[in-house]
């Protein structure tokens, strides 16, 4: 089985570190981005299989990032998992054009995140 590539975007260093460590330990190739713009560029370069992104980021928000990528034909099949503050609601119309398949609220459990990743990639 190919090694899958996951792009993780979050402006918080610690979160980025913990998520990438967990996923690497699980055998994934992990790319890290500190903001939406960096994530966009990395995605275009590397074409990941999955995007995990925070919502509140400088430059480009998580939602905008997903929408931009989804609009690009190269990425319209790429699923996205969004990490967000609890209570944060996305309008249905927003999720439709973004490729976001799951929302996980912070604080989150790395275990559950891994399980979610497996679930999404299996689908």
């Amino acid at each position: 089985m190919d090694q899958k590539t996951i792009l993780v975007a979050d402006d918080e260093t610690h979160i980025l570190n913990v998520v990438s460590l967990k996923l690497r330990n699980a055998g994934f190739r992990v790319l890290c981005a500190r903001d939406g713009q960096e994530a966009l560029e990395l995605a275009q370069q590397e074409q990941p299989d999955l995007l995990i992104t925070d919502h509140n980021m400088p430059q480009l928000s998580g939602l905008e990032l997903c929408q931009k990528l989804h609009a690009d034909s190269r990425f319209d099949k790429m699923p996205a998992i969004m990490l967000s503050a609890r209570g944060f609601q996305l309008e249905e119309c927003d999720t439709a054009a973004s490729g976001i398949v799951m929302m996980i609220s912070k604080p989150f459990s790395p275990r559950q995140l891994l399980a979610a990743v497996d679930q999404v990639l299996a689908a």
């Binding site: 610690h14 979160i15 430059q59 503050a85 609890r86 604080p107 459990s109 790395p110």
Partner: protein
């Protein structure tokens, strides 16, 4: 003075003698000179003349006395305490007495009327004063007050109402409300209340309107005035400007959501790393050590956040006890630097310091100054991008007996339009909102601690894109 009675007696005697002469002339003939017929005629004529004269005198006397009496009466007109009329004339005595009684009665009733009128004047003055008092009370009320009558005309309004609703107060009577106010919604609210005639009832409504060029929110309290059964009474409307209160309520809501968001961040890190440790995801001892450090630092960060929030509310409510002791500024600054260094390292920000010797002391509450310095350092780290620099320096002015702490960063800077407000509670610089999240309370706490509690000074200097320098100035012991 010839008395009338004497005249009358004389006249009567003369008549009697004349009468006797006519009836029994022979009686006179016995008297000397009486047998002369000429003498008899002369006597008769004299008697008649005497009689007529007596009559005339008598009549004239009556006339004169009456005139005197009339003059006296005239003199009594309008006099509140008339002196009794007097007359010598017995014929006029009863008239005089009666007139005196009339004059006395009139004088009494006049005095009574005057007394009553004075009483009414006093009452009127009292009522006027009360009315003026009530009006000045209404005028002094800072809320807008409008009083209308059963026909929706404005009866009374105060300055605040005129200002808030944009009309001019006019002293002329009643003006129809509809034409006076531009806020027709308010007019219909008042009209509906009046029509409802709910005696003693009160209606409270939130009402938005344009006032003084801005949209403002008012709490309108409407009450019906008692009136006669057919017409009903008017309405009193009191408008309380709650725009600020509504804004503050909104800010508090925003604050609560900001706070929870802020608290969640370090917590998320802690939880995630703890779980990683439990699951044995840490590769080696070194990595485990790094994890422990992160957990500890984030826990500290969380603690500081909570302290910040608690401090603000405690200081606000005046609960905090201030404990001023001689304090070495150097020590406080160094301690704060130690705390902030891990966070700075995490962003590869270099921290330089140039701190005066420890001997310089200020009279201050250590915890508070510590908090203030820490808040400034924490901000410097937050708003400085990766690879930047923070410089901390202290400067002593021995002449002015002041010590100044300066914290300069190479961060995003603050736009000029925001600079005057950065120390305000809840104020957040919008331009930097994406850079870092905050409660908007950190700087206001610094200002409160330095200026209000320690009578020092806070200041800031900033250039967008280059960085900011925040300063604290305190007096030396």
């Amino acid at each position: 003075m010839i008395r009338r009675t004497q005249v009358l007696i004389a006249f009567s005697v003369a008549m009697l003698l004349s009468g006797i002469a006519l009836v029994a002339p022979e009686l006179y003939q016995k008297l000397p000179l009486m047998d002369d017929p000429r003498f008899g005629n002369i006597a008769a004529a004299t008697l008649v003349l005497l009689g007529a004269t007596a009559g005339l005198i008598a009549l004239r006397q009556v006339g004169r006395n009456t005139k005197t009496l009339c003059r006296q009466i005239d003199a009594m007109i309008g006099v509140s305490e008339p002196s009794p009329l007097q007359t010598n004339d017995q014929m006029l005595v009863s008239l005089t007495d009666a007139t005196n009684r009339l004059l006395l009665a009139n004088a009494r009733s006049l005095a009574e009327s005057k007394r009553k009128m004075r009483e009414l004047e006093i009452q009127l003055k009292v009522v006027q004063l009360e009315r003026e008092h009530a009006e000045s009370i209404i005028q002094s009320i800072s809320d807008a007050v409008l009083v209308t009558d059963p026909w929706d005309e404005l009866v009374l309004a105060n300055e605040s109402a005129a200002r808030a609703l944009g009309f001019k107060l006019s002293p002329e009577g009643r003006v129809p409300l509809e034409g006076l106010l531009h806020d027709q919604k308010l007019v219909s609210l008042i009209r509906e209340m009046r029509a409802s005639r709910s005696q003693g009832g009160r209606r409270i409504v939130e009402h938005r309107t344009r006032s003084g060029g801005e949209d403002r929110t008012f709490k309108v309290t409407l009450s019906c005035l008692a009136g006669d059964r057919k017409e009903g009474g008017g309405v009193v409307a009191v408008l309380h400007d709650m725009t600020r209160e509504a804004e503050v309520a909104q800010m508090k809501n925003d604050f609560v959501s900001h706070v929870s968001h802020e608290l969640r961040r370090p917590l998320a890190s802690i939880k995630a790393y703890v779980e990683m440790l439990i699951d044995g995801e840490a590769g080696d001892e070194k990595q485990k050590g790094e994890f422990y450090d992160v957990i500890q630092n984030e826990a500290n960060r969380l603690g500081r956040l909570i302290d910040n929030i608690l401090d603000i509310s405690r200081i606000e409510s005046g609960v905090v006890k201030i404990n001023k002791q001689p304090l070495s500024v150097t020590v406080v600054v160094k301690e704060s630097l130690e705390i902030i260094t891990p966070q700075a390292n995490g962003k590869r920000i270099s921290v330089k310091d140039q701190i005066a010797p420890a001997i310089y002391q200020t009279m201050a509450d250590k915890d508070m100054v510590h908090r203030a310095v820490l808040n400034l350092l924490s901000n410097a780290v937050k708003y400085t991008p990766e690879g930047g620099t923070i410089s901390v320096s202290t400067h002593v002015d021995e002449t002015a007996k002041l010590i100044t702490i300066r914290i300069a960063d190479t961060g995003v800077g603050i736009p000029p339009k925001d600079l005057p407000y950065v120390f305000d509670k809840f104020y957040r610089v919008e331009a930097n909102n994406r850079m870092a999240k905050g409660t908007g309370l950190g700087l206001s706490l610094v200002k409160h601690i330095v200026e209000t509690v320690h009578h020092g000074r806070v200041f800031v200097d900033s250039t967008v894109g280059q960085g900011s320098t925040f300063g604290i100035e305190l007096s030396l012991c």
